[in-house]
Symmetry: C2
Subunit: 493 residues, 2 copies
Amino acid sequence: MIEETSKEVIDQRIQMAAEAYQFLKNTTIRERAAFMNAVADKIESLGDGLLTTAHQETSLPLARLAGEKARTTGQWRSYANAVATGIYAEPRINLPQPDQQKGDLRKYNVGIGPVVVFGASNFPFAFSTAGGDTASAIGAGNPVIVKAHPAHPETSKIMADAITTVVHEFKWPEGIFSHVTGTSNDIGAYLAKHKEIKAVAFTGSFGGGKALFNIANQREEPIPVFAEMGSINPVFAFQNVLQNRAEELAKEYAASLTLGVGQFCTNPGVFIALKGEGLNKFINTLKNEIPGITPVNMLHKGIFENFEKLKTTAIEQPEVNVIAHVSSEANEWQGRATVVETTGKNFIQNSILSEEVFGPFGIVVACETPEEMIQIAKQLKGQLTITVAGTDPDVRENQNLINFLKDKCGRLLFNGMPTGVEVVYAMQHGGPFPSTTDARFTSVGPDAVKRFVRPISFQNWPDEFLPQELKNENPLQISRVVDGEVNSGSLKL
Amino acid sequence: MIEETSKEVIDQRIQMAAEAYQFLKNTTIRERAAFMNAVADKIESLGDGLLTTAHQETSLPLARLAGEKARTTGQWRSYANAVATGIYAEPRINLPQPDQQKGDLRKYNVGIGPVVVFGASNFPFAFSTAGGDTASAIGAGNPVIVKAHPAHPETSKIMADAITTVVHEFKWPEGIFSHVTGTSNDIGAYLAKHKEIKAVAFTGSFGGGKALFNIANQREEPIPVFAEMGSINPVFAFQNVLQNRAEELAKEYAASLTLGVGQFCTNPGVFIALKGEGLNKFINTLKNEIPGITPVNMLHKGIFENFEKLKTTAIEQPEVNVIAHVSSEANEWQGRATVVETTGKNFIQNSILSEEVFGPFGIVVACETPEEMIQIAKQLKGQLTITVAGTDPDVRENQNLINFLKDKCGRLLFNGMPTGVEVVYAMQHGGPFPSTTDARFTSVGPDAVKRFVRPISFQNWPDEFLPQELKNENPLQISRVVDGEVNSGSLKL
C-alpha cells in the first residue's frame, strides 16, 4: 500500500521548501558541492538492503542495480565537482569604464526556487528519488520535492531517508528535500500548479510529461518543465556496412534492443536500410538471435500490459510482418522480444509505426531507394538518439541525409548502439520534441545543472554585500569572465 | 500605408529560412562572426537618411537616435566577438576511457532553426529589425524572419535592406534574413504557429508577449518564446539615504522617470519608502522638478492614448493623490509627466497600482512600517530591475527585505537609476515573469545568443566529419572542456 501524502502535508512541505530556498540561494557553490558529496557517501554506505529492496520492487537484476547505484553516487560526485568549479555559476564581471554609464556590473547564476522531481520506474536509482534531476537541482541551489514513483516505494524511501539524514547532518533547513508519495495523478498536477514551485523535472511517458508541460504553461506564472518522454532511437544503416558486417550488426542490434527487457529510453526501436542482400543477411541473423533471448519480467504490470498492447497494435498494421519473436507464452510480466519488418513506404505513411513501444520491440524498415531514407529522416519526430551505421565512404555518400538527422536528435552516433549513457560533460540526453519538452538541455551529465539556474546582475554593489562568487578577491578562485576575458585571479582595482 | 505581406510570401520566406538553416548550422563561429561584423559596418555606413527617417517615424531626438545607432552596431560587433570566442558553442569533449562504454563523445551548441523576431517601437534600432534579437539569433546560427514594427516601417526597411545586402555580399542563402510587414496581429500569430519556426523573440506589451507565448506552447511542437513584456522597476529607498540626500535622489528619480518620455522598459515606475521627514523632502523636490519637464511627443498615437488611459485609471484609484504633474494641455501625443502618492497599505491591497503605466508616470508609496516594505517586496511580481537606494548601514539593516528582492528581478541596483542598459557580458535584461516569459535568459549583452542554441553530441565520429569546433586539431583554437578540464590546445590522442 502506498500512502497518499495529504494536500495539507504537501502544502507544508512546499512552504518549507520556499523557506529553504532563501537559505540555499545564499550558499556558495563549494557548500553545495560538499553537501552533494556527502549524499554520495551516504548512498554508498547503504547496505545490501537497498539492492535487495530495489530488486524485489523492479525485477531488475542485482548486478544491474549495483551498477546503477555506482552510477548514481558517481552522478552526485561528478555534478558536485562541476558545481564547485563555478562553471554553472557563470560569473561575469564588467568593471566601470569611462565610456559606460552603468558602472560596476556583476552577474552570476542562482537557483530558481523549489523544483518538483518525478521519479522514473526504469532507473530506480539513477533517474529517481536520488537521481540526476535531484542532484542537479540541488547543485544549482534549489530545494527539491520528489514525487516518488509508485513502482518502487520502499527503494524511494531508503533514498529519501539518506538525503534527509545528510540535510540534518549539515544542519540545513529541512525543506531542502521532501518526499511525497501517492498513486494518483492529482498529486503531480497539484505540485506542478503550486505557485511556490518554480520548475518540474520528469522522466516517463509522453502523456505524463505533456500533461505536466501543459499545466506548467497555463499557470499564472508559467514555469519550465524538463520532461523526457520517449524516443524510438532510429538506426540508419548504409550499404558498405551492411555488405561487410550485416551479421555482426544484427547481433549488436538484437543485444541493444533487448537489453534490460528493452526498458531504456535509448532503445533502438527502428532499423532503416535499403533492401538487398545485406539487409537480408541482417534479418536472417535476427531470426537466429531473437528467439533465443530469455524472457524476463518487466518493471511492473502496467509496463508489461502497455508493451503487449502497443506491440500487438504495431503487428496488426497492414504490411507489417513478424521476422522473429520469443515464442513462449508470457509468464507473469515477461517481456518477449519481437522484431517486425515493413516497407519504407508503409513506414512513411503509417504514423503508428513511429510511436514508441516501450520494451524489446523493433521494426526493420526496408527502403526501395535512398530518397525514401531521406524522406524518413526529414519526417522523423525528435529523438534522444539517432545512430548512423556505416563506413567513412557511406557518410560521404549520404551527407544530405545525415545533415537532416542532426536536426532530429540530441546524440548522433557513428556505429555502436544507443542504449546506455555516459555521465560526462559531452553527453547529451535530451532531444527535440517530443523526445523531451526542451531540447536545449540535458538530463544526464553535469550540464543537467544548467536547467535550474537563472542569472542575476548586481549593479554597483559594495564588495561586502556581493556573493563569494563575485567578490573582488575571488575567494573561491574560480574562472570568471572579467571585462570579456576569462580570468581566475582577484580583481585589479 | 503599410503593406501586408501575403501568407503566400510568408510561407515562401519561411521555407527559404528552413533551407538557409541547413547552410547556417554548418557555418563555423568565425564565419558567422565575420557576417555580423559586416552587418555592423553596413549599418554604420548608412547615411543620415536613417536617422532622419527614424526621427520622423518615432519623434525620438536625432542625438538619441545617433546614440542608439552606435549601440546597435556595437551590439553586432560585441556579439560577433563573443560568438567568435566559442563561448556559446560550449565545446565539450570526452575521450574514450577504459571504464566507459560510450567511447568518444563530443558536444557543442548549434542553432535551433528559423527564429521570428518582433521589432519593438521604443528602440527602432537596438530592439528592432537589426536589433539585439536578430544579431543574437544569427550569431547562434539561425535564420531570422523579422516582423517589422508598424510604427517605423521605413526605418525597418532601411535596416532590412542593409542586412540583405550583406547576405548577398557573402553569397549566403537569401533565406538567412527575411522582412515581413503588416499591421494585423494575424501575421504574428501565423508566424509563431508555423511548424518550421523554432523560436520567437518579442519586446512589447504583456498582452502581445503572452499571446505569442500561449500560441507557441499550444503548438504540436512547442517552441520557446523570449518575450520582454514590461516592468515597474521599483526603487526601495532606505532611511539613511533619505535623511542625507533626499533632494538629490528626487532629482535623479525625476530625470530617470521622464527620460525618453518614460518610454523605457526600465523606467522606475514605483518609489517605496518609509514615511517621514526624508520622504517629505523627496516629495517636495518632485513637486519642484516634475512640472518643469517639457512635454514631448510619445512614439506614436497608440502609446500616447494608452498612457493617458492607464495614468487616469491609476489616479482615479482610492487614496491616490497627485503630487506633481505637467499642467499644460496635451498637444498632439505629448506625454505629460505625472507623479502620485499612496500608502503602503493601499499599494499592497490594490493590484491596479502594480500595473505598468508605459510613459512618464510614477507612484510614491509611503509605508508605515519596515514590515510593510517587506510585504511589498514579497508580493511584487517579477521585474527587469529593482533598485535599492541606501547606504551600507541601510543594507545591513534590511538584509531580509533585500534577500526577497533578489527573487523578483534580473538586475538589482545599489543606488543610481535603472533606465538604460550596458551591452556587456554582466548585463542581465530579463527578469521573472511577467517582466519576461523566461527569466533564465537575457535580451541584452552577448549572453543573448544563448537563447537560440541547443546542444548536439557526436559519439565516435571520425575527425573528418566533425565540425571545426570539435576537431582533434582544434583549428579554431577555442577553449574547450576536454575530459573535464578547460583546454585551448589540440587533442593529445
